[in-house]
Symmetry: C2
Subunit: 259 residues, 2 copies
Amino acid sequence: PPKVVTVVNQKGGVGKTTTAINLASSLVSLGKKVVLVDFDPQGNASTGLGVGLEDRTLTSYDVLVDKCPLKDALVSCRQEGLWIVPSNSDLSSADLTLAGGKEKVTAFSSSLAEFLSDPKEADYIFVDCPPSLNLLTINALVASDSALVPLQPEFFALEGLSQLLLTIRDIRKVANESLRLEGVVLTMYDRRNNLTGQVEEDARKNLGQLVFETVIPRNVKLSEAPSYGEPILSYSPSSSGNKAYMMLAEEFLKRQGGL
Amino acid sequence: PPKVVTVVNQKGGVGKTTTAINLASSLVSLGKKVVLVDFDPQGNASTGLGVGLEDRTLTSYDVLVDKCPLKDALVSCRQEGLWIVPSNSDLSSADLTLAGGKEKVTAFSSSLAEFLSDPKEADYIFVDCPPSLNLLTINALVASDSALVPLQPEFFALEGLSQLLLTIRDIRKVANESLRLEGVVLTMYDRRNNLTGQVEEDARKNLGQLVFETVIPRNVKLSEAPSYGEPILSYSPSSSGNKAYMMLAEEFLKRQGGL
Ligand SMILES: Nc1ncnc2c1ncn2[C@@H]1O[C@H](COP(=O)(O)OP(=O)(O)OP(=O)(O)O)[C@@H](O)[C@H]1O
Ligand SMILES: Nc1ncnc2c1ncn2[C@@H]1O[C@H](COP(=O)(O)OP(=O)(O)OP(=O)(O)O)[C@@H](O)[C@H]1O
Ligand SMILES: [Mg+2]
Ligand SMILES: [Mg+2]
């Protein structure tokens, strides 16, 4: 069945959405079928892949709360083989709705069950999370095979990492024993900033192999691409940002044992 | 009584904490008494002002949920005239606790009432919010005189701004009729990035005077200072980051009619 990977970090602005969009798109260019689920009420992943507000008739809110089959909510992207379940601001009420319901942390797993039973549907499902360890993020982690953590090499971002790793461990203990850490990806890497080097050294010392070899450099093309509703692959194929996400996709597949 | 200003933007990583810390510190250097309330469970503002985890015996959770008087939770910073109400991860359960209580959106206003009744206590109270329009942020806005919005000049950050302005308007209508917009501050401003100029032009065209003249440049000293537990004023007084926050403080005071 498809492998479910949640892109998560409660620290804001560390490159979760940029990584979810561009890793998904790079994997598709390597022949995989990928579904991206937008779990952020801001809907940045949906906008970044060109899905306008008017095209978000069924959203991740419908899948999560109203049990709409995932398959019905899929919107195909310009790149063939890439789909997205979009989101909009409806999703910001999901937290309180789930808190009052029976399936507080398992709502998403049960919504996914049917889709996961058919191996032909997709190779990977990526979930882009909001910057918070709220019930949306917890639902995603409970339904996932692994968690991918984008890490901006800055002091505040490093501070939140241990809290996040504890949360992932807690979820593995009480709700999803197969949840593992896919890895930590260094994003917005800027060689000129000496803090960058220190954080990288710290992360590799403490987490070893869990930190991807590939680092994503700071590259303005990555922040321009979403305004055209395109992944970096089509917006600026020759950019350092695109090359880095392609390398990340290849390393990601090698880690599955399956390039 | 002290003026309450909430630093808010549900987009992550746009410079909320950096602005809250350094605007507060600059105002203190201009002779004002300032209290900073950390409403983010990550506790970045607390760490950024040098308050270790072991010194956070009373936190904003206690003030918000357990009605601990604000005065009792104040921790003084190295800079005289600057205090902080620290936070820790306890705060991440506040959202669900408040959702089940009677004072869902007014808990913070009622906790503040006593402190606000004494004009000598402080000139300004700044609240640093998490990257979410959750009950913590709503409580802060309901208790505030104004909202200060840091805006990173990037596409995704601009996308969230209209949602935020709508939320502020809604709160003014139903819960706090005196809430107004203090202004929008452009942060991490990088002249070399052509997106920066476009977003600035867009913001000034749509929001006019509401956008502060002062822009905060991208300056690595600002991201290094928190690792020493210091505001930029003491960490790197001659940096462009410090000069910008001093200018912002002067412009902020001019806007109050008070410099
Ligand atoms: N490698 C990069 N180089 C340059 N800009 C980048 C890079 N990665 C992300 N950005 C930009 O930085 C900002 C933050 O990235 P992004 O929105 O992907 O982070 P996020 O973690 O999803 O944020 P949030 O916490 O709000 O969901 C965006 O404006 C994005 O375009
Ligand atoms: N003007 C600046 N120049 C360089 N770095 C900056 C600047 N402002 C903030 N930073 C850095 O960018 C990162 C994001 O800033 P900050 O944490 O203040 O944003 P935030 O909006 O509070 O994030 P969150 O949404 O997670 O609360 C931090 O690592 C910070 O040190
Ligand atoms: Mg995002
Ligand atoms: Mg912050």
